[in-house]
């Protein structure tokens, strides 16, 4: 028996190692309810320990290589680009000042929006806190689209936090170590994110294919989907906030497995192959930094000054209105206010008779409306007094120009 073991010791060692690894593999696979095998997303303690060891061994030299490269690039770029930096800095400071005020106003709008949403019972997620991180390494395999960042649990990172750039989403935190974290890119086959097409509002699931390209799967064939349409996060996956850019539709291909469905190939907005700096969204709770609050206070103070100016203008207008005659008399009941007066205060009772009648003037008796009032001798009498006469109030204006006009008509 011993000689057999010695004779075949190479094969025995090979078999032992293979069997041990196969057992290890078997413990990492789960049989889902749909009857499919899936990799356990949560690493067991043993598996996590191996990952931790590998990370501890490989990460330090990897970070050293990365930062040496970045340092060399920075040195070169800073040396070459120093010309005109002062002027650019002054311009940027002005821009920052203006943008801070604009941002403060936007924050107020956002707060108001949230309050309104809370009133409506509608929950929406906003990005309020991010951690900037440097990408220093990758998973190193063509089929594995993961990368490593230099921030970990010590910086507040947790599993399943969204990772984005200014251009668009990048991935989610898959594993967190004390000083580093592993990020699963959105173009990995095991990745998934809920997305929506910006124009057609069609929803689907974004994942990576074998070539590391992005595709939206599970979409019913629709002729409205055209290349160039923007793809945004849908916000339903509880990882990515809603409305973040994902990319653009590159082309639409039929789903090889299902007839009525299509796969939408997406050109990512972020450069997934060349990532240097990323942002990890650590909180979507409404928290504002001290600077933002200060900016907001400044903005409020400015708005207060504007409000005071408006109030002064209103006061001046009020004073002017008091000095001018108006149509409202404080002593009178509402129905007798001049503004409500509809009757003619001085109606023209009778047109005056001509002193020398001619053929062109109709006889007074034929006039129906405003028939002339004559006395017994046939002479015209003065017009009748108004039906309602209101005593002129102090400071009140006389009823509009009607009496004057009637007087003018009476005495042409």
């Amino acid at each position: 028996m011993e000689s057999l073991f010695v004779r075949y010791r190479n094969l025995v060692v090979l078999l032992v190692l293979l069997v041990a690894q196969m057992i290890g593999l078997a413990t990492q696979v789960r049989h889902s309810a749909e009857g499919r095998n899936t990799l356990d997303p949560r690493d067991q303690s043993g598996v996590r320990l191996i990952r931790l060891w590998a990370n501890a061994v490989v990460s330090p030299p990897e970070e050293a290589v990365h930062f040496a490269r970045m340092g060399a690039i920075d040195l070169w770029q800073n040396y070459v680009d120093l010309q005109g930096v002062r002027q650019q800095n002054a311009e940027l400071e002005k821009t920052i000042g203006r943008l801070r005020l604009e941002q403060a106003e936007l924050l107020q709008d956002a707060e108001q929006g949230q309050r309104l949403q809370a009133l409506l019972g509608f929950q929406e997620h906003y990005i309020y806190k991010t951690v900037a991180a440097q990408v220093y390494g990758s998973g190193g395999s063509a089929q594995s689209h993961v990368f490593y960042i230099d921030k970990g649990s010590a910086d507040g990172l947790r599993r399943d936090m969204a990772v984005v750039t200014a251009n668009g989403i990048v991935g989610k935190v898959r594993d967190v170590f004390p000083r580093s974290a592993q990020v699963l890119a959105i173009n990995d086959q095991t990745s998934g994110a809920g997305v929506i097409l910006a124009t057609t509002r069609i929803r689907g699931i974004l994942r990576g294919n074998a070539n590391g390209q992005l595709e939206v799967v599970g979409v019913l064939a629709d002729e409205r989907i055209k290349p160039g349409e923007k793809v945004l996060t849908a916000g339903g996956d509880l990882i990515f906030p809603r409305g973040l850019p994902v990319g653009e539709v590159a082309k639409v291909v039929p789903d090889p497995e299902r007839d009525a469905f299509i796969d939408i190939m997406v050109e990512p907005a972020a450069h997934l192959d060349r990532l240097d700096e990323v942002l990890v969204i650590t909180s979507m709770e409404p928290r504002f930094s001290q600077q933002e609050k200060q900016d907001e206070a400044t903005s409020e103070a400015l708005e207060g000054a504007q409000a005071a100016a408006i109030e002064q203008q209103q006061k001046a207008a009020q004073i002017n209105a008091e000095r001018l005659p108006n149509l409202i008399v404080p002593n009178l009941p509402p129905e007798q206010q001049p503004i409500n007066e509809s009757s003619n205060p001085a109606p023209m009772a009778q047109p005056p008779q001509p002193l020398h009648p001619d053929v062109f003037s109709p006889p007074a008796g034929t006039m129906e409306t405003g028939a002339p009032a004559v006395d017994e001798e046939g002479r015209p009498i003065a017009p009748a007094a108004p039906k309602k006469s209101t005593p002129p109030a102090v400071g009140a204006a006389a009823p509009r120009s009607q009496p004057k006009s009637s007087k003018q008509r009476r005495n042409p």
């Binding site: 060692v13 060891w53 061994v57 030299p61 086959q189 070539n211 192959d273």
Partner: protein
């Protein structure tokens, strides 16, 4: 015949390296493997840990050492990815064993043989990985045959350059 015998004996020499080389070269291969995709993007068609496994297995001519080194490097490679730990481990275990077994029998100093061996073993490694994913584990795993072919070609080319460089690290008696 005597010349052939001398050559045969020379070929069957076991290459020995300082202990640090055994530790640093695999780590360096893992670091570079993790760093290269950041420079070359998805065109990083090379598997440096596999090349290093083949090199040490061929040089040491010990199936046990080749097997163990392949297993360790493969497990570390798995641990750095998000995939199941053990897939690359098994593939490189087999590759290490086969490379060492072949190294006993043929002249591995020949560039053409190195090129051919790396090409074949790279394809074998890819085949084992796909077999484990799709058959043993029953996982959904899409792959492209030309990507695996390019990786095999890339490994062969890198091996031609890297092997002479690593040969310089040998301990001379």
């Amino acid at each position: 015949m005597s010349v052939l015998g001398a050559n045969l004996r020379r070929d069957l020499e076991i290459h020995r390296y300082p202990v640090l080389v055994y530790a640093l070269v695999p780590v360096a291969s893992l670091v570079l493997q993790a760093w290269l995709p950041r420079v070359l993007g998805r065109y990083a068609w090379v598997d440096l840990p596999l090349v290093v496994t083949v090199y040490f297995a061929l040089g040491r001519r010990s199936p046990i050492q080749g097997t163990i080194m392949g297993a360790v490097i493969g497990l570390f490679e798995d641990a750095l990815s998000q995939r199941a730990i053990g897939v690359n481990g098994i593939a490189k275990t087999v590759v290490g064993f086969l490379a060492a077994s072949v190294g006993i029998r043929i002249d591995v100093e020949n560039h053409l043989i190195r090129l051919f061996l790396n090409f074949l073993l790279s394809l074998l490694s890819s085949a084992i990985c796909i077999f484990i994913y799709r058959v043993l584990l029953g996982l959904q795993y899409d792959w492209q045959w030309f990507t695996e072919l390019f990786i095999a070609i890339g490994n062969s080319v890198v091996a031609i350059i890297l092997f002479p460089l690593l040969d310089r690290l040998q301990m001379r008696e």
